[in-house]
């Protein structure tokens, strides 16, 4: 797995680029790397000032989305490319500051109908990942272009919490 921290430290010595890039990870579709990504996301969300519960939520959403890519887009193959790109979203008149996470893979296109998740009124294993993602994040979007699946998630900081980097 390659880690690409940005090269322009901000005033706090923390990485930040003009486009808000905080962290970029390039990894293979090997489930053994999921714990590595979780560790990075736990620390990143902590540094940004999310609550403990929101840190767990964001980390869970990213983990579940990566799991879906590994299982469904790449069919369990271990050597396929995935990119995780984390950006800081600035405060805008219509929204708070937040964290944008963009996952990219080169698997086959995803049927948007399958991104709805299943109903929870039935007790059965499987199909919970998308539900966890939608429960955890404020925005969840999927796009396909140039042979790449792009899964975008955003979590906003509560208004009272100012970002620490």
């Amino acid at each position: 797995m390659k880690t690409k921290p940005s090269r322009q430290p901000d005033g706090n010595g923390l990485p930040a680029l003009r486009d808000g890039l905080l962290l970029k990870l390039q990894l293979h579709s090997d489930p053994k790397l999921l714990s590595v990504v979780r560790g990075a996301l736990e620390r990143l969300t902590e540094v940004l000032g999310f609550s403990a519960s929101d840190c767990r939520s964001v980390t869970r959403a990213v983990d579940e989305a990566l799991t879906n890519i590994m299982r469904h887009c790449y069919g369990g193959r271990l050597d396929q490319p995935i990119e995780v790109c984390c950006k800081r979203l600035p405060r805008r008149p219509s929204s708070h500051e937040g964290l944008e996470i963009l996952l990219s893979d080169r698997g086959p296109a995803v049927d948007p109908a399958k991104l709805r998740g299943r109903r929870l009124d039935e007790i059965k294993p499987g199909g919970l990942g998308l539900h966890f993602i939608r429960q955890s994040m404020d925005t969840v979007e999927y796009q396909r272009g140039r042979g790449i699946n792009r899964f975008r998630m955003v979590k906003y900081l509560p208004q009272s919490e100012s970002p620490k980097c």
Binding site: P31, R38, E64, P125, G126, G129
Partner: protein, 110 residues
């Protein structure tokens, strides 16, 4: 993730530690289903006090264990849920369908 089993009177306790995710949930599922379907232990208890994280595939393994126990009229018990594990069971609305206790003493006394 590590999983080991202790056997007491008509009870098997699985001690699990580490994170349960896509990389290792098949191992949890296999151990659970073997205990239930092959050994038919009357009471299967999962000690999750050292499990920091469970993903949806881990939850699915627990649901499979529960359903296998119900099919054979066996008991399936969880104890020691971390905040993260409790959250995923709440999010999936599954917390109420499991028999959950805070610690091993309560689980075994039940």
């Amino acid at each position: 993730m590590q999983i080991s089993a202790r056997h007491a009177d008509r009870t098997t306790i699985f001690d699990v530690s580490g994170d349960i995710d896509l990389a290792n949930s098949p191992e949890v599922r296999k151990a659970l289903l073997h205990e239930v379907r092959e050994k038919r232990t009357p009471r299967v208890v999962m000690n999750l006090s050292k499990v920091r994280y469970i993903d949806s595939s881990g939850v699915a393994s627990l649901v499979e264990g529960l359903k296998a126990c119900r099919d054979l009229n066996l008991r399936f018990i969880l104890f020691g849920l971390s905040p993260s594990a409790r959250e995923v069971l709440q999010l999936s609305r599954l917390l109420k369908i499991f028999e959950v206790y805070d610690n091993e003493d309560q689980a075994l006394a039940s």
